[in-house]
């Protein structure tokens, strides 16, 4: 028998990893140079969470999937053009600042407030998904804080797998130190799962799913509420690029034997 799940995925938008990033400090604190024109993607680990959520929702008919995202409307719209073709979901956009420098506690407060107010959400059936860390702030705390604010006391981070049982309980594999997974069994929803990579490949684009999603995404974006994020006493003393540019020795004419001998000496050196 399938379980009826209400899955909420929290996912931000981040600069495409291939872009060059340059920090700048403005009147509102640090940010990235030309941040608004940098091509953006859905946060990679949160994207894994979305694909896993869509897979779970498909396997459990009657389940619902929301994607809650805090970011500028223009960026969200750009990213949704692609993401909307990957999985069926209801977008809940929040118009607010993007980037890694706003305080995670403020972000969590806004997300929790939004989720708590979702029409039709049954919190007893809630699986709160997201990436275990973002590719911007990378703090790995936002999802915990949202879960704590929603009163959820079963939380898992670095999740690579969830196996739902017929009785509503589920087994979770979480990444721990040393290349291992911790295996836990939770009695059932509600729970928070911060996803690592998961086991699913990125779904192919499905234009039909995209068109269906976009019918609700565009009105949702138009109605997105604006959120202001408090600094909570967080102060940046400096923000800079690393200065480590190495002087690279490029060896183009060494034979495999010569390279091997040099590498063996290097490996053995303290």
């Amino acid at each position: 028998m399938a379980n009826l799940l209400h899955i909420v995925v929290c996912a931000g938008v981040v600069p495409d990893p291939l872009q060059t990033l340059e920090p700048v400090t403005g009147p509102n604190g640090p940010g990235l140079k030309n941040e608004m024109v940098l091509p953006a993607v859905l946060d990679p680990w949160a994207a894994s969470a979305l694909y896993e959520a869509a897979n779970l929702a498909t396997k459990n008919p009657g389940s619902k999937l929301w994607l809650v995202s805090l970011g500028s409307k223009a960026k969200l719209q750009q990213v949704m053009m692609t993401v909307a073709q990957k999985a069926a979901f209801e977008l809940v956009p929040i118009d607010g600042p993007i980037g890694g420098f706003p305080d995670a506690h403020s972000t969590a407060a806004v997300l929790a407030e939004t989720i708590a107010a979702l029409p039709g959400l049954d919190r007893a059936k809630l699986l709160l998904f997201g990436g275990w860390e973002s590719a911007t702030r990378g703090a790995g705390v936002t999802l915990q804080l949202v879960g704590e604010r929603l009163g959820i006391t079963d939380q898992f981070q670095g999740v690579d797998q969830i196996d739902l049982h017929e009785d509503g309980s589920f087994e979770v594999l979480e990444r721990v130190e040393g290349g291992k997974h911790q295996v836990s069994v939770c009695a059932g929803t509600p729970a928070v799962l911060g996803w690592a990579t998961g086991n699913l490949a990125e779904p192919p684009n499905n234009p039909q799913v995209g068109m269906k999603n976009m019918r609700t995404i565009m009105p949702a974006l138009a109605k997105a509420k604006a959120a202001k994020l408090e600094a909570n006493g967080l102060r940046y003393l400096s923000v800079s690029l690393p200065k480590q540019q190495r002087t690279t020795r490029v060896e183009k004419n060494m034979s495999p034997d010569e390279i091997a001998a040099e590498l063996v000496a290097w490996i053995g050196a303290e």
């Binding site: 702030r137 790995g140 879960g147 939380q155 040393g178 836990s184 069994v185 060896e251 034997d257």
Partner: protein, 342 residues
């Protein structure tokens, strides 16, 4: 005046502290000395006696939460334990190791205490205030920050401080009682490759990274995957290195292509993978572009073998780049290492 609490937890034995916890003790001692602040150490363990004894010479007040419920890492019990320790210590600054166990709960504990948290801290400086360094955008932008709000939780990255070590002696420990909530999660154990097949070794001196080139067609027009597997495993065996991978190589498995059988997403280094700490790193058959190389931020000495003289490694990202085919080079390296051993 600040008061400092270091949170520490036991390893899988249930009694000895993890290395990351001992590193955080060192950070706590240094910070307490710099700020002339009192230091408390709170221990979460099934049995905290041995862990407390190991810390007896620190001069810190020792608190502990003990019992079978705390033998396992689990959100509900660990959050309750850490909350109880924080309330007992009444600290303004809480330092904790950024282990999977404490990373799972520390933010929520900070929230329960009306405090704030910053994670992945790599350095603590300042004499009047605390200046914490951390990376943003997956190790691409570095920032120094502080906060006025208290309590302020700081999760320290592993490998940023020396581990505290001293002769153990009998210590006075104050046991802290914990009101456990309903426990709905049972930890049933760990899943890992068998010891001789485990390729992720966080304590190794060296990291070997295998890129997608290992499974590409070679000059004879064929894919030599079995040979690639043998060479990589031979190198790991001979050097006790840890194995990392580029995203593109790991992803090949999900796309149904041939993949090296011992590689999983846990081996992945970079933007969507790990950022390990090793003294040396050797990259093979990997293009060295930014999304991968951000995972090398804490690899001190870097070398790469690549067929592409314009690859990312040659642009100031490695110390030495050999423009060569990794197959014959690694075969020769393995042979030399075996001969050396014999």
């Amino acid at each position: 005046m600040e008061t400092i609490l270091v949170l520490a937890h036991a390893d899988e034995t249930g009694s000895a502290l993890t290395r990351a916890s001992l590193e955080t003790v060192t950070a706590g001692l240094e910070l307490a000395a710099r700020l002339s602040a009192p230091l408390t150490i709170g221990i979460v363990a099934a049995d905290a006696t041995a862990a407390a004894n190991a810390l007896s010479t620190t001069g810190a007040r020792l608190l502990a939460v003990s019992g079978e419920a705390f033998a396992q890492a689990r959100y509900a019990s660990d959050a309750a334990a850490c909350e109880a320790l924080c309330r007992a210590a009444k600290a303004t600054i809480v330092l904790a190791p950024g282990t999977s166990r404490f990373t799972r709960v520390a933010a929520s504990v900070a929230h329960r205490l009306g405090g704030f948290i910053d994670t992945h801290i790599t350095a603590l400086a300042g004499t009047e205030t605390i200046e914490a360094s951390r990376w943003f955008y997956r190790q691409r932008v570095e920032a120094v920050l502080n906060r006025e709000a208290r309590p302020w939780f700081l999760l320290l990255d592993a490998g940023t401080h020396a581990a505290f070590a001293a002769e153990p002696a009998t210590a006075q420990v104050e046991q802290v009682a914990v009101q456990l909530p309903e426990i709905r999660t049972t930890v049933s154990g760990f899943r890992a490759p068998t010891e001789d097949q485990q390729t992720i070794r966080p304590d190794a001196k060296m990291l070997l990274v295998a890129g997608a080139g290992w499974t590409k067609k070679q000059p004879d027009g064929q894919i030599h995957a079995a040979e690639a597997s043998e060479l990589i495993l031979g190198f790991l065996h001979a050097t006790s290195s840890s194995l990392g991978s580029s995203k593109s190589l790991v992803d090949q498995g999900g796309e149904g292509n041939f993949v090296l059988p011992f590689l999983t997403h846990l081996n992945q280094i970079g933007q969507t993978g790990a950022t390990p700490r090793h003294a040396k790193g050797l990259s093979t058959c990997c293009h060295g572009e930014e999304p991968h190389v951000v995972g090398w931020r804490f690899i001190a000495d870097r070398r790469a073998i690549s067929l592409d003289p314009n690859c990312g490694w040659t642009r100031g990202k490695a110390d030495v780049v050999y423009i060569a085919d990794a197959f014959p080079v690694i075969a020769k390296v393995n042979a030399l290492l075996e001969a050396k051993k014999a």
